[in-house]
C-alpha cells in the first residue's frame, strides 16, 4: 500500500469519526445518541487546548491529557496530526485539491512555494499563548514579594552567571543582566497589578478543532440536520451565528485560492506542532542532493515546506505527496537530515516574537477595561448551570460550542460581541429561542464541557439535594416581572402562564388576587333587578365579553365590595351568581361596577433559580414581560441579590 493511501484512509477515518461525534452529541439513550461516546476526543487530542488551559489554570483537566499523546508523537514524527488526523486539515486538503485540479504544473508549483507570511500563524500562536500566560508572568514578576527566597536564589544564580560572563569578558551582557534584575526587583517589590490583569484564554477563536466543532455544531448541522428528525426533533436556532459561519466558509473556500490556506497561514495548532517538530527523529528529506530538480514533488506539497531545497520541517504536514511524486525515489522519510539541508525552526525573528508576545499581554487590559469582569458585568449574560465564576469561566472556555449542541432545549447560544471580544462565542442562555427554559433535571452541558468551564455537576448539586442541601439549588439568575408589559399588571388581562409553568417546588412565582374595575359605576344605571339577573339602561356591555368567568358585578358593601360572578350577558343584561339578596344590592344608589379578577404574578427571589421557563412561556412574545437576568446567580457572590434569610 502506498503511504498516501494509508494517509487518506486515516484522514477519512478521522473525518467520519468527527462527523459521527457531532451527530451523536444529541441527548438521548439510543445507541447513536450521547451515551458514553467520547465526543470530545478530538478536542482532547488537540494539545493547544491542553496547553492553553494549563497556562490559565495550572491544571490539565481529565481527557485533555490526550494532548500529551499528540505532543509525544509530534516530537518523534513531526506534524502527523495536521496531515493524518485533523478533520479540518482534511477538509482543507480536499478543497485545495479541487482548487488546483485544473491548474498547470507551473501554477501548482508557484502555489506551493513557501511564503514568508506562513510565519503569521506563529505570531498568532505567540499572541494567544502570551495572553493565556499572564498569570504566570505576574507570578514571576512579583516573585520578589511573594517568594523572596526563590527570588534571592535566582539573583544569586544571576551573579554566578555574570561572573562567568565577566570571566569571558562580555561586559555588555553583564550590564543587561543587571539592568533586567534591577527592573524586576523594582517592579516586583513595588506593588500589585490591577485585578483585570489575569490570564485570558482566547485560543478557541482560531484553534482548528474548537473552530470546526463550533462551525459544524452550530452552522452546518442545523442546516443539514433540519431535515432529519433523528438529529434534532425541532429546528435548532443559534443566535449570533453569522460571524462563525462566515469565518468557516472563508477558511474552507480560501483553499481554492491557496491549498491549505488556513493550515499554512493561520492555524495556531499547526504552529505549535511545527515548533514541537524541531527535534523529530524522522523527517522528510532528500537522500541525495544531486536530483534532477524536476520539482514535480512540490506540485502537491500540502505544507509548502520546500522539500526540493532546504526543507522547512516545521511547515511539513507529513502529507507524503512529495515522496509519492518523486519518480526517482530520492525523497524519503528518514532519520538522516535532508541532503539538500533543512531549516528546523519557524521563520520568526526575535523582534516578531517580542511584538507578538507583548501585544498578547497588552490585549488583556484592552479587552478588560470595559469592566465586564468588574462592576460592569452584563446582566443579560445567563451562563449555564455549573459555569464557573466569570473570570475562571473565561480562563477555561474554548468556545467549542459542545454545550450549545448538547443543550436539549436549544437555549445555549454563542454570545456575540455583547460580552466584549473576550466573551465572543462563549455560551449564554437565550430563553426566547428553543423549546423551553433550562430544564430542571438536566446537567448535560457541564458533563460535555471538555475544559470544565462548566463544571460537571450532579443532579443533586444542581437541585441542592442530599449533601448539597446546605448550598441550595444552583441559581443561574433571577426572574423579574416587568409590570409595564405583564398582562395582569398592565392590561387587566388574566394570564399567569409564568406562575403555572414555574418548575421549582415550592413555586418561585406566586400570585396575589386583585379586582380591577373595568366598567365604572357612573356608566351603569340599573333598570331592574331580579334574583339572578339585572338589566341596565342603554347598552353598556355591547363591546364586552363578560362571560369568561373572570368578570364580576361589584357593589359597595358596608365593609368591602360585595361581588357576584357574571354567568352570561347581553348588551344590557347580566345573569349573576350567587342569587341576589334584594337587600344587599344598592339598586337605589346605582353604585355597581364591573370588575375583573386578576391574579398578578410575583417572584419569590429566594426560590427562583433563573431557569427561564417563565420567560420562555410568557405570552408577551417580543420583549418578554417576565425576564431572567443574572442577578443572584450562585457562581459568584458579587451577584448576590439577597441576604440569606
Amino acid at each position: 500500500m502506498r503511504i498516501i493511501t494509508a494517509r487518506r484512509i486515516s484522514q477519512i477515518f478521522f473525518l467520519l469519526l468527527f462527523v459521527w461525534f457531532c451527530l451523536v452529541t444529541t441527548l438521548g439513550d439510543r445507541w447513536w445518541q450521547l451515551r458514553g461516546w467520547s465526543v470530545n476526543w478530538l478536542i482532547e487530542l488537540d494539545p493547544l487546548v491542553g496547553l492553553g488551559t494549563i497556562l490559565t489554570t495550572r491544571t490539565l483537566y481529565k481527557g485533555l491529557v490526550w494532548g500529551l499523546v499528540t505532543i509525544s508523537l509530534t516530537l518523534l514524527l513531526g506534524r502527523f496530526f495536521c496531515g493524518w488526523i485533523c478533520p479540518f486539515g482534511t477538509i482543507h486538503q480536499f478543497i485545495g485539491y479541487l482548487g488546483k485540479r485544473s491548474r498547470s504544473v507551473a501554477q501548482r508549483l508557484s502555489l506551493n512555494r513557501y511564503h514568508r507570511w506562513q510565519a503569521i500563524k506563529y505570531w498568532i500562536l505567540i499572541f494567544l499563548l502570551a495572553s493565556a500566560s499572564l498569570d504566570l508572568v505576574f507570578d514571576l514578576l512579583y516573585l520578589p514579594q511573594n517568594a523572596s527566597r526563590v527570588f534571592a536564589g535566582i539573583i544569586a544564580l544571576v551573579l554566578v552567571i555574570s561572573l562567568i560572563i565577566v570571566w569571558r569578558q562580555s561586559f555588555r551582557a553583564v550590564i543587561s543582566i543587571f539592568v533586567a534584575a534591577g527592573v524586576w526587583m523594582v517592579i516586583g517589590l513595588g506593588g500589585q497589578p490591577p485585578s483585570f490583569f489575569s490570564a485570558s484564554l482566547q485560543i478557541g477563536l482560531l484553534d482548528p478543532l474548537p473552530l470546526l466543532y463550533r462551525s459544524i455544531n452550530l452552522v452546518v448541522l442545523p442546516i443539514v440536520g433540519g431535515g432529519f428528525r433523528e438529529i434534532s426533533p425541532a429546528l435548532r436556532y443559534y443566535d449570533g451565528i453569522g460571524l462563525i459561519g462566515l469565518i468557516f466558509l472563508l477558511a474552507v473556500f480560501l483553499n481554492l485560492k491557496i491549498p491549505r490556506f488556513y493550515c499554512r497561514f493561520i492555524c495556531p495548532l499547526g504552529a505549535l506542532l511545527g515548533v514541537l517538530s524541531r527535534y523529530a527523529i524522522w523527517r522528510i528529506g532528500k537522500a541525495d542532493d544531486a536530483c534532477r530538480d524536476c520539482q514535480l514533488c512540490e506540485q502537491h506539497c500540502d505544507g509548502a515546506c520546500a522539500p526540493t531545497s532546504k526543507v522547512r520541517f516545521s511547515e511539513c504536514v507529513l502529507c507524503f505527496n512529495c515522496m509519492d511524486s518523486c519518480r526517482h525515489g530520492l525523497i524519503g522519510y528518514r532519520s538522516a537530515p535532508s541532503a539538500a539541508g533543512e531549516i528546523t525552526g519557524p521563520d520568526v525573528t526575535k523582534r516578531e516574537f517580542t511584538i507578538a508576545c507583548l501585544s498578547g499581554l497588552a490585549a488583556i487590559p484592552a479587552m478588560r477595561l470595559n469592566g465586564h469582569l468588574a462592576a460592569n458585568w452584563i446582566p443579560t449574560l445567563i451562563r449555564p448551570p455549573g459555569a464557573l465564576a466569570e473570570k475562571e469561566f473565561l480562563a477555561r472556555c474554548i468556545k467549542c460550542g459542545q454545550c450549545m449542541r448538547i443543550c436539549p432545549t436549544n437555549i445555549l447560544h454563542p454570545t456575540g460581541l455583547a460580552s466584549g471580544i473576550e466573551g465572543l462565542w462563549t455560551p449564554a442562555a437565550n430563553f426566547r429561542i428553543g423549546s423551553s427554559g433550562c430544564q430542571l433535571k438536566c446537567i448535560a452541558c457541564g458533563n460535555v464541557c471538555p475544559t470544565a468551564a462548566i463544571r460537571p455537576i450532579s443532579l443533586d448539586e444542581r437541585l441542592g439535594q442530599k449533601r448539597f442541601e446546605r448550598h441550595g439549588p444552583i441559581r443561574i439568575g433571577t426572574a423579574f416581572v416587568d409590570r409595564g408589559r405583564c398582562l395582569p399588571w398592565a392590561m387587566d388581562k388574566p394570564c399567569i402562564v409564568c406562575q403555572e409553568n414555574c418548575p421549582v417546588s415550592p413555586k418561585a412565582i406566586f400570585t396575589r388576587v386583585s379586582f380591577n374595575t373595568v366598567i365604572d359605576s357612573h356608566m351603569l344605571t340599573i333598570r331592574f333587578a331580579a334574583a339572578d339577573q339585572i338589566e341596565f339602561d342603554g347598552t353598556p356591555f355591547q363591546d364586552w365579553r363578560l362571560d369568561t368567568g373572570d368578570y364580576f358585578l361589584a357593589g359597595p358593601d358596608t365593609q368591602d365590595y360585595q361581588r357576584w360572578a357574571i354567568q352570561r350577558h347581553t348588551a344590557n343584561r347580566l345573569w349573576i351568581r350567587p342569587n341576589l339578596q334584594q337587600a344587599r344590592l344598592p339598586v337605589s344608589e346605582n353604585q355597581v361596577a364591573i370588575q375583573i379578577r386578576l391574579q398578578r404574578p410575583f417572584v419569590e427571589p429566594n426560590r427562583c433559580i433563573g431557569c427561564g421557563v417563565c420567560e420562555h412561556e410568557c405570552p408577551v412574545r417580543g420583549k418578554r414581560a417576565i425576564r431572567v437576568t443574572a442577578e443572584n446567580e450562585s457562581r459568584h457572590r458579587d451577584r448576590q441579590l439577597l441576604l440569606q434569610s
Binding site: T59, Y279, R396
Partner: protein, 331 residues
C-alpha cells in the same frame, strides 16, 4: 588519510543528539502533564483570600466612661469632654499608632453636616500627637467617589494640616473578615490596610437621621469599613449595625451633636435639615453614645432597634445613665 568523519558518522551523531533532545522533551512533557493532571475539575467557588480578624482596641482595666459636653464650639466641647473622661492621655500612650474612622461618606461641604467636621479631625489629630501618638491615620470607604469625598468634606486638608496620614481605599486595601458569631459579616471584604499599622481606634462621626435605620451615629459609622456590595445589608440594617459594633471594639468614640441632621438623612443636602443641638459626646461605650445621640434626634430606643440588639449582644449598655455620664456645660 584524513581524520574527517564520514557523512554517515556525522548523521549518526546528529541523530543521537536529536533523539536525546526529543527524549528530553518527551520526558518533560509527561512530567508536566502528570504533575498538573486533574481528574476532579474546579470547585464551585472562586479562590478566596485568607480571612483577617480585628483586635480589641479598647483600653483594658478601665470602667466604661462617658461625657456629654454642651456648647456650640466643637474644639472647646471636645476639649472639655475628653478631659471629663480622663483626658486623651489615658487612652493614647506614647508611641501609639491611632486610626481615626471618620465619616466621609458623601462629597458634600462640612456646612451640610453629612460628614465628620474637619475642625474636629484636625483637633483630634493634634491632640493624639500631643498625647504621644507616633502616627495618626484617617480613613473611610465613602459612598461617593473617595477622592472627591475627602477633598470636599475638608477632611483631607484637615488630616494633612495636622500631620496625619490619609488612607484612600484601593482595591488592594480590602481583605475578607468573618466576625465571630455574626450572621452577615462572614468572609466579607474589610478595609484592612489601615488596621495593619495601628493599635488604637477612634470613631468620630456626626449625629444624623438615617431613613432606613432611623439614625446614623457611632455604630453605623463602622459601615464605612466594609467593602464589596455592602448595601445588600440594608435588607437587614439593624443586624448589620449590631454586627459592625461586634466587629470593632474601639478605644474611644466621639459623637458630634453640635449640629444634628434631623431629616433627609444620611445625605441631607439642605441647611433646613439641620438643627443646632450643641452637644459633644465622648464615650468608651459605643452603645451608650448612640443611645444618648438618639435623644438629640428626638428618637427613643424602640425607634432604633439596633441599640437594643447591640446591648443584647453584650457590646455595651443602652442605659447610658448607668455610666454616670458627666454633663459639662461650656456656654
Amino acid at each position: 588519510m584524513t581524520n574527517d568523519p564520514k557523512p554517515s558518522d556525522l548523521n549518526r551523531r546528529q541523530f543521537i543528539i536529536r533523539s536525546t533532545k526529543a527524549g528530553a522533551a518527551l520526558a518533560a512533557t509527561w512530567a508536566v502533564g502528570y504533575g498538573l493532571y486533574d481528574t476532579v475539575g474546579p470547585s464551585s467557588q472562586a479562590v478566596r483570600q485568607t480571612s483577617v480578624s480585628l483586635a480589641d482596641f479598647s483600653v483594658s482595666g478601665q470602667q466604661p466612661r462617658m461625657c456629654v459636653a454642651r456648647g456650640a464650639d466643637r474644639k472647646k466641647s471636645l476639649a472639655y469632654a475628653l478631659k471629663a473622661v480622663g483626658g486623651l492621655e489615658s487612652y493614647i500612650k506614647s508611641g501609639d499608632r491611632v486610626l481615626l474612622k471618620v465619616n466621609a461618606a458623601f462629597a458634600t461641604p462640612p456646612m451640610l453636616s453629612a460628614t465628620t467636621h474637619p475642625i474636629l479631625v484636625t483637633e483630634l489629630c493634634r491632640r493624639c500627637f500631643q498625647a504621644g501618638a507616633a502616627n495618626v491615620i484617617v480613613t473611610d470607604n465613602p459612598i461617593n467617589d473617595p477622592t472627591s469625598c475627602f477633598t470636599l468634606t475638608g477632611i483631607a486638608e484637615a488630616a494633612r494640616s495636622a500631620g496625619a496620614e490619609l488612607i484612600v481605599p484601593r482595591q488592594q486595601s480590602f481583605r475578607p473578615i468573618t466576625v465571630p458569631n455574626a450572621r452577615l459579616i462572614r468572609d466579607w471584604p474589610l478595609l484592612y490596610e489601615p488596621f495593619r499599622q495601628v493599635n488604637k481606634v477612634i470613631g468620630i462621626t456626626p449625629v444624623k437621621d438615617h431613613h432606613r435605620s432611623g439614625a446614623s451615629m457611632v455604630m453605623k459609622n463602622w459601615y464605612g469599613l466594609l467593602g464589596g456590595r455592602r448595601n445588600i445589608f440594608h435588607q437587614e440594617v439593624h443586624t448589620i449595625i449590631k454586627e459592625l459594633a461586634m466587629m470593632v471594639r474601639p478605644t474611644l468614640v466621639i459623637l458630634d451633636g453640635t449640629t444634628t441632621m434631623m431629616r433627609n438623612g444620611p445625605t441631607g443636602g439642605s441647611l433646613s435639615d439641620l438643627k443646632s443641638t450643641n452637644t459633644m459626646i465622648v464615650s468608651t461605650d459605643q452603645v451608650a453614645a448612640d443611645a444618648f445621640g438618639a435623644t438629640l434626634l428626638g428618637k427613643n430606643l424602640s425607634d432604633l432597634p439596633f441599640i437594643a440588639q447591640a446591648q443584647e449582644a453584650g457590646i455595651g449598655t443602652a442605659d447610658y445613665q448607668s455610666l454616670n455620664p458627666q454633663m459639662v456645660d461650656i456656654s
